[in-house]
């Protein structure tokens, strides 16, 4: 009988991308960042910026870094909505954006830590998320890479490229 845990976060590793098994657009982004040695110029980011969420390098044991930019076609904007992704200018969050699901936040911290150590994270996740008082089961693949926005920059940003594969309401 098929054993299907309620939640699954699996690192597949970037070899899977290199073998051509990942989402094609996500794979293109991975190749572009690798070719640029993680020092992304505007030209490198331009074709992908609308699909990315960007966050800082302030990661902790319990939470990924706060998000500051959610691209217009990014999976996080699709999932959590425009109002979440674009707080009004008169009242931006004092701590950066966080995804509305605390469990998802906790489960993601290690992936961001790896990415900030120049080890791109590519994985598959299937889990339940709580949105608006409803529970959904979501399956997605995600690539997280650390990027220096300029050669002299003293900080990194994390770029998140997610692809939602399935989304089902459970309650």
């Amino acid at each position: 009988m098929l054993t299907r845990p309620a939640s699954q976060f699996t690192e597949l590793g970037t070899k899977v991308i290199e073998q051509g098994l990942a989402d094609p657009r996500l794979s293109e982004f991975y190749e572009a960042i690798q070719s640029a040695s993680h020092q992304a110029s505007p030209g490198t980011l331009k074709p992908y910026i609308n699909h990315l969420s960007l966050c800082s390098d302030k990661v902790s044991e319990l939470a990924p870094p706060p998000i500051f930019y959610v691209g217009r076609d990014s999976s996080q904007r699709l999932l959590f909505g425009d109002k979440w992704a674009s707080p009004e200018a008169t009242g931006g969050s004092a701590t950066g954006l966080r995804t509305p699901d605390p469990e998802l936040e906790k489960a993601s911290a290690n992936a961001y830590k790896a990415a900030l150590n120049l080890k791109p994270y590519y994985g598959y996740a299937r889990t339940h998320i709580s949105l608006e008082g409803e529970t959904y089961e979501i399956a997605f693949e995600r690539l997280i890479v650390g990027i220096k926005p300029a050669p002299a920059a003293t900080y990194q940003i994390c770029a998140y490229y997610g692809v939602i594969q399935d989304l089902q309401r459970r309650s």
């Binding site: 699709l78 008169t90 969050s93 004092a94 509305p100």
Partner: protein
């Protein structure tokens, strides 16, 4: 500030989320740009402005887009604890 979620399911929440903005934060373009430069985050201003908003100068954006961009820059400062 209060806002409501509206996502791909098309529904809105009655949950109200309150954001507190530091009193020293300036959202006028010149002041915010100065804050960003002081925090050594100027590259991100340029990258997001030119790639997403397709302008070189924030004053070339219509007011609504300008506010949206400045909100992103405000989040940038917050995300780096600057």
């Amino acid at each position: 500030m209060q806002h409501h979620f509206q996502n791909l399911f098309g529904f809105k929440s009655d949950d109200q989320i309150t954001f507190d903005l530091p009193k020293t934060r300036r959202l006028d373009p010149a002041g915010l740009r100065a804050d960003i430069d002081a925090a050594n985050l100027g590259e991100m201003w340029t990258i997001i402005l030119t790639l997403d908003y397709a302008v070189e100068d924030v004053s070339n954006l219509p007011p609504e887009k300008q506010e949206e961009f400045l909100s992103v820059m405000s989040l940038l400062l917050s995300a780096f604890n600057r």
